[in-house]
Symmetry: C2
Subunit: 277 residues, 2 copies
């Protein structure tokens, strides 16, 4: 990998920002707010930010960059696809439970649902994320899907994934703003009490985490090498082939074709998409 | 250009979303709110959303994709760099005046400044946008800057530009949410009066505009061809060279080097960055 040090620096920074964000959201609901519960009260609402930050932001971000971790390159692409999909499924489940918590609370407190921009974009993001999951599994994990479909859809899969991730962070910032305005009454949000400053910092941490994940996900030099390249590298290094062989042998032509770029590499065509100008 | 129809469709959709968003923000402040003025009142505040949507979102988005418009490819890269920079400078000025409007209003109404997540991220974005402008001009418009610096910094320039654009849209959504909560009292935001629904739709339009700009900006097949390619194309088509020659002759080695990829193309190296996996 080119610039391994830079990669590890970005990865550690992203991990730290994500980890601290999770600590912050837990401290917010446990120290500043009413704690956690499942009884229709504010304690049930509090599962909403906790699950969103932990699952819909942190797990989703991890799922996005999981192919880039160099120590996973000895695993077969198929296994990594299951890890990628599994993390996204977990993130989706967290998001759905987060939605149930907020709808439960709203219904118990007789607060209307789905009136805010936060709710409009947030629900749309969860639905599209579910659709992305279904299409992703159908295209890249079901062996019968034609290679040409996989190749054609990869740029859209990648773009949609990054756009949804970015949107989810924006929606989280909207939720933080709403909650601080509604939840702080004396002193108010505008009086900058400690909770307001603390949760604003949580918002900044989410932005930093998102920015780092997007940086890692869009550096081509940090991309998982094609399995052909890995095979050649290990063969040439001598004695390594036997160790890596079994993992690589898990790969079928279909799973190799998961990446449109992999296909283009084999046909010696330059990449035509997914590239920032 | 590959897929010209798709490009034109995406461009028209982005233009339409951006144009309708501008109409929406004008109708919001002129019909639902207090109109526009410059007297420290709410009418002065109203310049804030108008200038942000018109300048910091729409003009910035236009600046980002201006190289991709095929009918500009006969213009020299240097001219297009001035157009790109000029649009960004205009967007920056709109953003600064938008800031002055909101600070003026806050000071006149004795509302604290800089307490909200919207203000924290928003002011940071304006400052970093200014820095990006200064660095962009220094690196890519001043002829003495070494080609190696230009090449090395291009991935960061592109990434920062797209990240700032995305952040600005997220900050605009935060501003919309704040204004709807504070500005709607009877009926409240949660009662979904017409203004709330109308301005939520404005938020959706900004998201759609942003998503389309990011799509256009990240398709490699829609990238402006290198000037060498354009020159060869026009030479081979016969009789066109004389027409295009003078424009291309504006380009120096330095201006050609603005794009790291241009440099790599000349040295026959594959692009190593800027590419979404």
């Amino acid at each position: 990998m080119e610039n391994l040090k830079h990669f590890l620096l970005a990865l550690c920074a992203a991990g730290a920002a994500g980890f601290v964000a999770i600590i912050f959201v837990l401290r917010w609901v446990l120290h500043f707010k009413e704690g956690l519960g499942w009884d229709g009260s504010l304690a049930e609402f509090n599962w909403h930010p906790v699950l969103v930050v932990t699952g819909f932001v942190f797990l989703q971000g991890t799922a996005i960059i999981v192919y880039r971790l160099p120590w996973t390159w000895q695993c077969s692409k198929l296994i990594m696809k299951f890890v990628h999909a599994g993390l996204h499924v977990a993130a989706f489940l967290f998001a759905v439970i987060a939605l149930v918590a907020v709808f439960d609370f709203h219904n118990a407190a007789k607060i209307p649902n789905m009136y805010s921009l936060h709710s409009w974009i947030g629900l749309t993001a969860v639905i599209l994320y579910g659709l992305q999951l279904v299409l992703g599994v159908g295209l890249y994990l079901i062996p019968v899907t034609p290679v040409s479909w996989r190749t054609a859809c990869m740029p859209i899969h990648v773009y949609s994934g990054l756009l949804l991730f970015t949107t989810v962070i924006a929606v989280a910032l909207l939720g933080i703003t709403e909650k601080l305005i509604f939840g702080l009454t004396n002193p108010k949000y505008k009086d900058s009490p400690p909770e307001a400053v603390f949760v604003n910092i949580l918002g900044l941490l989410l932005v930093i985490f998102g920015a780092l994940i997007l940086w890692i996900a869009t550096r081509t030099s940090w991309k998982r090498p094609s399995d052909q390249t890995l095979h050649v590298l290990h063969t040439n290094s001598g004695g390594e082939d036997a160790k890596v062989g079994p993992a690589l042998s898990d790969l079928t032509d279909e799973t190799n074709a998961e990446s449109g770029e992999d296909v283009r590499r084999r046909s010696n065509k330059p990449p035509v998409d997914n590239q920032v100008d």
